[in-house]
């Protein structure tokens, strides 16, 4: 019990430091810098996730259906919880809907949309690595007051 309490205290300290760092980064470097950095982190994560899933599930050739299935199973369910993500696949399009924002769930203010670029970079890069040329568009964002984030990926 004492260990759990100490761990919780440490996590609260890290969360508080993170909030303060973000505030001062915004003050000194501006929102463009922060969004760009989160976008880059998302892209790197996207590359790593595509590679990890390919190895883990022995995928030789990705199809939109296989990618959608593995993304739900290996990325979205663990991060967001069961049933919080949905991917609709048609001939040349994937529409990804996420019902929860992991940043908001962690108690972080997302109104400045700093963290959306992370998710956008991750999804776009996974799709590009797996399926080749893909055009990506964020249709709706929870940070803009919508009930879910919706991303539209078109195979080009």
């Amino acid at each position: 019990m004492g260990r759990d309490k100490r761990r919780l205290g440490q996590l609260k300290f890290i969360a508080s430091m993170f909030q303060m760092v973000m505030k001062e980064l915004d003050n000194v470097m501006g929102p463009e810098s922060i969004r760009t950095i989160f976008r880059l982190i998302g892209e790197r994560q996207g590359e790593a996730i595509e590679k990890r899933m390919k190895d883990k599930f022995n995928v030789d050739n990705w199809t939109p259906e296989i990618l959608a299935d593995k993304l739900i199973q290996d990325v979205f369910n663990p991060a967001l919880g069961e049933g919080q993500a949905e991917i609709k696949v048609s001939d040349d399009e994937m529409i990804i809907s996420l019902g929860v924002c992991p940043f908001q769930r962690a108690g972080i203010d997302t109104s400045d949309k700093f963290y959306c670029t992370y998710t956008e970079g991750l999804i776009e890069t996974v799709a590009q690595k797996a399926l080749g040329n893909v055009s990506f568009k964020s249709d709706e964002l929870i940070s803009e007051g919508k009930s879910c984030c919706t991303f539209d990926l078109k195979l080009t």
């Binding site: 470097m29 501006g30 929102p31 463009e32 810098s33 969004r35 760009t36 950095i37 976008r39 880059l40």
Partner: protein
């Protein structure tokens, strides 16, 4: 009728043709993504675009802190060449030049290019 992307390429090509000191240019979104690029082949475009957005962010904050002002452009003087950034509506025009370029001429040509970009994307200041 050429696409917007083709038109942005043409705008950058014209800039490079008209300004002899220019060795590369790119149009970059403020979130660090490249819209169009004519940067030298060996350049890591993705990182340059990200750094340009970060430089814009920092420069905007500096303008606000110094004069409660608004960022217009940035000139980086480097040992092997220079870099210029100019805000063009919602995007950034980044230009790489040879060492010791004609700064006045580059500025004028960048302003003209910025007008063309804004017109293409129908952007407000």
């Amino acid at each position: 009728m050429s696409s917007r992307l083709e038109k942005t390429h043409k705008i950058l090509e014209e800039l490079e043709e008209e300004a002899t000191d220019v060795i590369g240019a790119a149009i970059i979104k403020t979130n660090g993504l490249i819209v169009s690029s004519a940067l030298p082949k060996e350049t890591d475009e993705r990182m340059i675009a990200a750094m340009s957005a970060a430089l814009l962010g920092t420069s905007k904050r500096t303008a606000e802190a110094l004069f409660n002002g608004v960022f217009k452009s940035l000139h980086l003087e480097l040992n092997k060449g220079d870099m210029f950034l100019l805000r063009a509506g919602r995007v950034i025009l980044a230009v790489i030049t040879q060492k010791e370029p004609n700064v006045g001429l580059i500025s004028l040509q960048m302003e003209e290019t910025s007008k063309k970009i804004k017109e293409l994307f129908k952007m407000e200041e």
